[in-house]
Amino acid sequence: MTTVTQRDISAEIKAIDDDYHRAGLEETQPRLDYSPYRSSLLRHPTKDLHHADPEAVELWAPCFGERDVDPLESDLTIAHNGAPIGERMVVTGRIIDGDGRPVRRQLVEIWQANAGGRYIHKRDQHPAPLDPNFTGVGRCLTDDDGTYRFTTIKPGPYPWRNHHNAWRPAHIHFSLFGTEFTQRMITQMYFPGDPLFALDPIYQSITDQKARDRLVATYDHDLTTHEWATGYRWDIVLTGSHETPFETSES
């Protein structure tokens, strides 16, 4: 079996990108069937998703409250006795639905690699150091304006085994709930200007550049604090809420 190189993967990415632009139909979400991401080959449905109108519990979301989340869980830099290595940063933004309404008092979960690009997870065994002062897991509840806020360390890029010499752009995983179950989503936030974007099949599985840009945080100097932390802003829009009576199906 020949080794799959970045050149091979980049050629596949380009072929799909060319097809997308020829077709001229805007897409806004990742493709489930995206062969440059090899793990997706046997894990994507081959049948079209089936249209369903949300009903019963689907029109509601699970509720989380103060008893679920300690406010200290939003600071990933204070979970241990010492300060973690790396660039301390604040990431904050608003979570709104498709009609612009804030998602209030709802759970946000994040997880990420440390500054060296290493996850605590036992399956990550690449030779970058673990940081005894960094676990890389955080939670918070949004406030009444839909705003979340975490203090953490800027994660590093890391190698993976999709192909030879494959590296993921630095990212933070976000797990999000809305005001109804159909808005549940998990995604990844990226950093501006990452040189690995063009090479990464997971980022590129979103075929539209405007849609990709929605996953990239903005550096915000007004959030940066003197001699303490840099600041990034990233707002999140969940799929449209169905509380309005005249919503039409667009499947």
Binding site: E27, T46, K47, L49, C63, H173, T182, L238, T239, S241
Partner: protein
Amino acid sequence: MSTLIATPGQTIGPFFGYALPFDHDSELVPPGSPGAIRLHGVVTDGEGVPVPDALLEIWQADADGVVPTATGSLHRDGWTFTGWGRASTDRDGRYCFTTVKPGATQAGSAPFFAVTVFARGLLNRLFTRAYLPGDELASEPLLASLPDERRHTLIAVADEHGLRFDIRLQGDGETVFLRFPGHHR
């Protein structure tokens, strides 16, 4: 109609295992409590191979058909039914929840568990429903809209301790996954 375009999803990746699971995450009620059932199954890929790095979430009404509004899913007190749970698959692709059978939220409607599936290799979450087996299913509109050979993929099967609901991401017997209004490609 929604005016804003939703932020794209991305795969949950391989490393959620130290972040998203929590104590009693899959126990919506304590095992062995009155009315408790096991909802379990296997997640498989397009070659029928178990998927050991998937995460499932369920969201459901209580036994009386009431949609819970109680908080406390992340720190369960053993008494409050919050209706939401999370389960990782094991090395054999198996997942297991301890819960109660949801009641009908309206007279005559068919009760179901709302299910979300995440996995490494799955670039965005998938939604589905696990219906309880029963007579109400004959008139259920979503099931009626499906071809005969696919309908069974949304119906849990009764077994010794409760219900079995397998999820096939691809191929023979592929589970029906749902697209809700406002979910764009």
